[in-house]
Structure formats: C-alpha cells, structure tokens
C-alpha cells in the first residue's frame, strides 16, 4: 500500500466512522434515555420486581401513544434499568455510571429508603434530575436537595391518617377518652417517622390520647414476648406497631398466642397482605388497621387509578399493588414534566416538577411536590381494615372510602 493509498483509506474510514456517529446521535435524539436502578436481586428483589413492572408498564403505555412530546417533536422513551442488588454501594456506583458513562437524560429512583438515600447524594452532586417513588423517610428530603423529588408521602403522615380515623371513632364514643396507646416501632427511619406521627397527634389531641408504652425493636426479631408482656401489663386500649412483614408475622403470632386483644390493632403499613393472612390465618388478622400509599380499590373512585388497574390487569392477569402503582406514577410524573417543559434541559424540567399539579391515581387525586416538604409528595394515605370475609376495604379518607370501619375490635371479649 502506497502512502497516498494509506492516507485515502484512513480518510475514508474516518469519514465512515463520523457518518455512523452522526447517524447514532440522530437516532439518540429521537429517544429520551431514562436511567434507573432497582433491587432486582438481593433482599428487596420481590418489591424491586414490582417496581420494574410499574416502570415498564408506564414506558410501554407512553410509547404506545407515540412517546413524549418535546416541543414540536415526539420522542420515544427508553428505560435503561440496572440491578442495584439491594445494596447501597451498588446503587450509588450504578447511579454514577448511568449519569457519567451512559449519559442518560434523567433518572428514576430505586426502591427502599436506604437505597434512595444513598443515590440522592450522587444525583445532587451531579445535578441530575431524580424522581423516585421508593424512598419515604422525610430525612431524605430535609437535606435541601434541589434535584430529588419523591412520590412517597412520609410515614409520619401514615400515622397521622390512621390516627385521624381513630379520633373519629373516639369522638363518636366508640373508644375511651383518654385512650391509652402502646406504641411499638422498628428501629429504622420508617419506624421513627411512625412514632413521631402518632406521638405528635397524641400531644395535639388535648388529652385524648396517652402513650403509655413507647418502645422500639430491632428488625427481624426472634422474640417479642418480653415486649408484648410490657404491653399486656400496661393495659392499653390501642396497640399501634410499625413493622416490616416478617416482624409483623412474628409479633402477631406471639400477640395471638398470648391472648391479648385491643380495641384497635395496627402494624402501620402492614396488615392487609394476603401473605400475612396465609401465615397467620384469616381469623388472626381480622380488624387489623393499616394505612398504605395506594390501593387498587381507589379505582372505584378515581378514573386514572381505574384505567391503570384495568390496563395492568389486562397485561399481567392480576391486580397491581401499591409498588407497581408508585413505579408507574413516578415515570408518568417525569414524562409529564418533560412535556410541560418542552425540552430535555434538566433545569427546565425541574422547574415544571416544582410547580407540578398533576391529576393522579394517588389518594387525593393530585400529585404535587411541595417545596416546604423538600419536594416530597404529601398525598394522603388510605386507611384499610381487614374484615372477617377476607376483604380490606378503604375506610378513610371519606372521599376514597369503599367500606365502613369497625371500632372497637368486635373480637375482644368473645
């Protein structure tokens, strides 16, 4: 090969490569790349899988409608999803990779407070827009982060929603005044927020409630009998605990065998799970009160929820739980903000999220990210109560209610 031929060949190859790059860039411009990590393996794998279903359904629906309208152009959305293995360090390093190596346009959040907490510092450093539906602890949003938006309302509000319903029962004369409370909370940010919600409600009640047992416990406890003995000795009216599913099952087993019965019994966000009824027996979960971020029963009152439940059911052959709904709504909020901004400029999309008032499938029917709460949604919780027929209707708030709650627990004294 002569020097001239060599130069010509190199020039042709460079030109070809440049053409390919331009072609790829043009293709990329027609697609919005959205990154996310989820715990698809490890301790949170089950719930991570639920969020994945929610994200995928949202992307599929959006692309079915042509994509996201950005100015005068409609662009497809592409989800780049990685497995953070339920560990904080992996969640952090993958967020960094998505931002700095894969150059995604926006990030959706992972699930579980500790993982969201870990990622939030990374996205803030990189000024990457991060919308999550998996981190509820208010501590994440009290750091003054500008780029982090959260759909899960704080657990304090969960306790507050539940206490409001209990208060209505007290005002109706169904519960004693003052009512004595045993407050048991897991030693996590989730539990601490729950405790704060109940304690503050009791303080503000003007003598309506008295917290006489206030104890925390470690996750995955082996034995709660000493703790339950303390509750028994205090002779309380309301048993309010906040726990994850394994501790709920262990504690409720010991609660039932100890022969205790309280006018109100709750395990915070836990209570209506089918798995718990299977593990404990339907009879042993009757009248347990729970409050959750979302329920498919909202479909009976809310059009967006109805459409989501029907669509999800058609695709998966089963009803969605709140995890899938949160995944779906998180992605939808981001798509809407991009459309409203009409650009992929992160700062402009962020501005739209700050002022967003999106008709939503969430309780209350509207999604906002109030600045006074660090851009964390404060959508109300739905309160449910297990009934003897196995159902768990929404009993509060009134505008979402699909059934009536019962207080005091009719099983006590039987």
């Amino acid at each position: 090969m002569t020097p001239t031929t060599r130069i010509l060949t190199a020039a042709a190859l460079s030109l070809g490569a440049a053409t390919l790059r331009i072609g790829a860039a043009q293709a990329a411009q027609n697609t919005i790349k959205i990154g996310a990590t989820l715990p698809l393996t490890g301790a949170e794998a089950r719930i991570g899988g639920f969020y994945k279903e929610g994200y995928e359904y949202a992307f599929e629906q959006q692309n079915k409608e042509g994509g996201v309208k950005v100015g005068d152009k409609t662009m497809k959305v592409e989800l780049q999803l990685l497995d953070d293995t339920s560990t904080q360090s992996t969640a952090q390093s993958l967020a960094d990779r998505l931002i700095n190596s894969d150059k995604v346009n926006f990030l959706l959040g992972t699930y579980a407070t500790n993982l969201v907490e870990a990622q939030s510092a990374i996205v803030e450093q990189n000024q990457m827009l991060y919308v999550n539906g998996g981190g509820a602890a208010s501590a994440i949003y009290k750091r003054g982060y500008k780029w982090v938006f959260g759909l899960l309302a704080p657990v304090e509000l969960l306790a507050d929603s539940m206490m409001k319903w209990i208060d209505e029962q007290q005002k109706a004369g169904k519960l004693p005044k003052p009512a004595k409370i045993a407050l048991l909370w897991e030693n996590t940010s989730h539990g601490k927020d729950f405790r704060k919600g109940v304690s503050e409600f009791a303080k503000k009640s003007g003598g309506g409630y008295e917290v006489v047992v206030d104890e925390s416990f470690e996750l995955n406890g082996k034995d709660f009998s000493a703790l339950l003995g303390k509750v028994k000795a205090a002779n309380v009216d309301l048993f309010l605990s906040d726990s994850h599913l394994p501790d709920y099952i262990t504690m409720q087993r010991q609660y039932v065998t100890s022969g205790m019965c309280h006018k109100i019994l709750s395990y915070g966000a836990r209570g209506s799970e089918k798995q718990a009824a299977e593990a404990l027996g339907r009879k042993n979960v009757e009248y347990i009160l729970s409050a959750v971020w979302w329920s498919p029963l909202l479909g009976q009152k809310n059009e967006i929820a109805k459409e989501f439940v029907a669509g999800f059911k058609a695709k998966h052959g089963r009803e969605p739980e709140w995890y899938q709904a949160m995944g779906f709504e998180t992605a939808r909020a981001l798509f809407t903000a991009i459309e409203q901004a009409g650009t992929l400029d992160k700062a402009k999309v962020r501005e739209k999220l700050v002022v967003m008032k999106l008709p939503s499938l969430l309780p209350g029917g509207e999604l906002t990210f109030p600045a006074e709460f660090g851009q964390q949604s404060h959508a109300p919780f739905v309160v449910q109560q297990n009934q003897p027929d196995g159902s768990a209707p929404i009993i509060a708030p009134a505008d979402a209610a699909t059934g009536k709650g019962v207080a005091p627990n009719p099983n006590c004294g039987k």
């Binding site: 393996t41 703790l227 099952i249 299977e278």
Partner: protein, 291 residues
Amino acid sequence: MQRFTELVVAAVLLAGLYATMAYGLGLIYGVLRVVNLNHGGIIMAGAYVGWLLHEKFGIDPYLSIPAVVAVSFVLGIAIYRGLVRHLPRGPAGAVQSLLLLFGVWLVLRNAAYLLFTGNDQTIRTEYSTRSVAAFGLALSVNRVAVFGIAVLTLVVLHLFLTRTFTGKAIRAVAQNADSCTLVGVDVERIYSLTFGIGTALAGLAGLLGASLFSFNPSYGSGDLLKSFVIVVLGGLGSVMGTAAAALILALVEVFAILALPSYLTGAVGFVLLVLVLVLRPGGLFGHRVLG
C-alpha cells in the same frame, strides 16, 4: 411476681431456640477447629427444605425433622469431603476455611434467591397460633415444642458423645487428633462425621426457626452471630456449656427490657461476649470438654 414468671418463661423458651442454633457451630469448632461461616447458610437451607416438604407434600414441620436432618447431614459431609478437607489443618488453614465457607454461604444464599426469589415465606400449621396454659401464662405450642426438641437434642448429643464409641472418638479427636491416629482412630472419618452432624444440627435449627418466623434467603445471618456469642460464652467445643450459655444469653436479653429500650436488648449479648473474651477467654465453662 407474674411479670417475673413471664420473663423467666420467655427466656427459657428462647434459650431452647438459641441452643439449637449454636450446637452445630460449637461442635464443628470444638473438633475441627474450623469456624463454619456457612452455618447461617445451612440454617437457611434447613428452613427451605422444611418449607418445601410442608408446601409440596403437606408434611408437618416436626414430622419432617428426620428428612431435614438427613439432607443437612449429607450436605455437610459433601461440603467437608469436597472442600474443607483439602484445607491445611490448624492455624495455617484458619483464614482459608473462613473464606471458603463464607463463599459457600454466598453461593447457597444466591442459589436460594434464584430458586425461591426474595419473598418472605412462612410455615403455617393449625397449631401455629395455639397456646397452652402453664404457670398462669399462655405459652405458644410451637415455642414449647422447639424448647422440648432443644432439650432432647442436648440429651441425645450428650449421650452420643459420652456413651458411644464414635462419640468418644469424636471427643478424643477434639483433644488430640495426632494421638488418635496412633491408636487407630480414623481421624478423617471422624472429621467428616462431625462436620455432617454439626451441619445437620444447623439444618434442624433452620427448620425449627421456620416454624416460628418468616424467612427468606438472607435468613440465618443473624442466627450465625447469635450462635457465635453463645459458643464463645459457653466455651468453644463444650456442648453442655453451649446449652448453659444459651440460657444465660436469653435471660440477659429478656430481662434487659426492664432497664433498656427494647432495641438495645439484642446488643446486650455482644457486650457480654466482649466481657467474657476479656475476663475469661476460655468461655464461662472452659473449653475442650465436648459432651
């Protein structure tokens, strides 16, 4: 007085579970001088085997004890023959055995995630929430049964180690393996058998735990830590010491609630561990007294 009785009974029942968890770890260390970091993995595997037998064939968890113990025993023998025996004996192999068995635990755990996902599972029987009246208290049938099995295991293990030829050989190997070789004891066979028995006891602990708690593939890690505390408290290699240490730990944890917030009661055991290591490194009941 009623409260005192309640706490004592709760501690005794809890001690049964703790002792079952720790027997296997103590036995393997006492004889092979190997810290079985895979103990937690076997506890988890025992829970899943029991759950599978219950879910697929409707076998009551207590009736499935022989099957779970047999499966765990075979698994233990396989792990010993396939992996552990190739490591150098004594302090030279200590780090390798730690790493190797930790690796086996990771493999077991991830295999469980693949097979069963991360879902929490439970074994529910018709007596899961039943209670019996004793000492003026309502006691969980399951917890009483677990305690009974723990006591039975202790008695059987003690009799085996003190009254049978193989048991005596195990104790002899624990004291001096070289001398045993000189008098014709097949030390390799004893090691293999001991590893199998220790693993079978871990499997039994997993099954009993599964009848009380919900579990997932990460189950067992907390139990491993607790087992360490008990084995060190009781004196490494002492079966009776293990049982006594389990009772002491349970009593301390349960009674701590009178003075400490509930979430700190679990840490009391670790404080006790540090104290024992500093003041009485051989454990509360000495060491090398298998049986």
